[in-house]
Amino acid sequence: MMDTPVGKARVAASIALWPPPRGHLVAFLKTPLAWVLLATLVGFGYMDASVRAETRLVCGAVSIMIDRQVFAGAYDGVSPTKARFMRACEGSAQPDTLDLRGGLTGRG
């Protein structure tokens, strides 16, 4: 199979496409636009991480607030607004005292 011209052509094509030859990487890094692209990539990564951290902070702060209010007796269940908040904060901190299915967990 490998000795046939078709097999050789297939092997040659796969070598040419992946992994990219070292020359491509060097040529890419030699251009200023490449560094602009890399800086943009790092900037987007930083922005994504910082915004996600802020989201986690907001969810955590409001979850603790809700837990304390439940403990103080100000809240007694999950209203539609609180359910929306808990769905928005899925994957982040959640109130320990409230259950998304509609009631108190009893852990307060």
């Binding site: 491509h24 890419f28 692209l37 802020e54 989201t55 902070l57 907001v58 209010q69 928005a88």
Partner: protein, 155 residues
């Protein structure tokens, strides 16, 4: 001796000074609008057909989309959080703590909806501080600024 500006162009020290300033500017503009600038930056056929460029470009697009989505999600979360925080202030037994201020400052006034931005409850935990609204008016509910960690030693 004839100067370069002899034919129809005013001659003299001022004209030479003007030429000395304008010539580099003109050359710079010519460089920017010409293909040399793009070529110097690397924007040519070999760069655009380089597989590493295409891969980097795809990564930039993906990272930009993820960052934009995270930004929109934070704005949505702040909008959803606002009625939970603000509407609870009228309930019996309500008190304001430190966490309302953390949420308020993290979201910022830009992300909080307009109808909640001035009615957010805030605690002022400095000595002598009192509970207030985000518009600066004093609030009628109490504030609790707990500084003691609780019965941690039992745990």
């Amino acid at each position: 001796m004839f100067s370069r500006w002899q034919h129809g162009v005013p001659n003299g020290p001022l004209a030479w000074r003007f030429a000395a300033v304008i010539r580099p500017v003109h050359l710079t503009i010519q460089f920017v609008v010409s293909r040399h600038m793009l070529s110097w930056l690397g924007l040519n056929r070999s760069f655009l057909t380089n597989p590493v460029t295409l891969g980097a470009l795809a990564l930039v697009v993906i990272a930009g989309a993820a960052a934009t989505r995270a930004n929109m999600h934070l704005t949505y979360t702040c909008g959803v959080v606002s009625p939970v925080v603000v509407n609870s202030t009228g309930m019996d037994g309500y008190y304001v703590g430190r966490y309302e201020r953390i949420a308020y400052e993290t979201c910022g006034r830009d992300r909080i909806p307009d109808n909640y931005v001035n009615t957010w409850p805030l605690a002022d935990c400095r000595p002598g501080g009192r509970a207030m609204w985000s518009n600066g008016n004093l609030a009628e509910f109490p504030q609790v600024c707990r500084t003691k960690p609780g019965n941690v030693s039992v745990l």
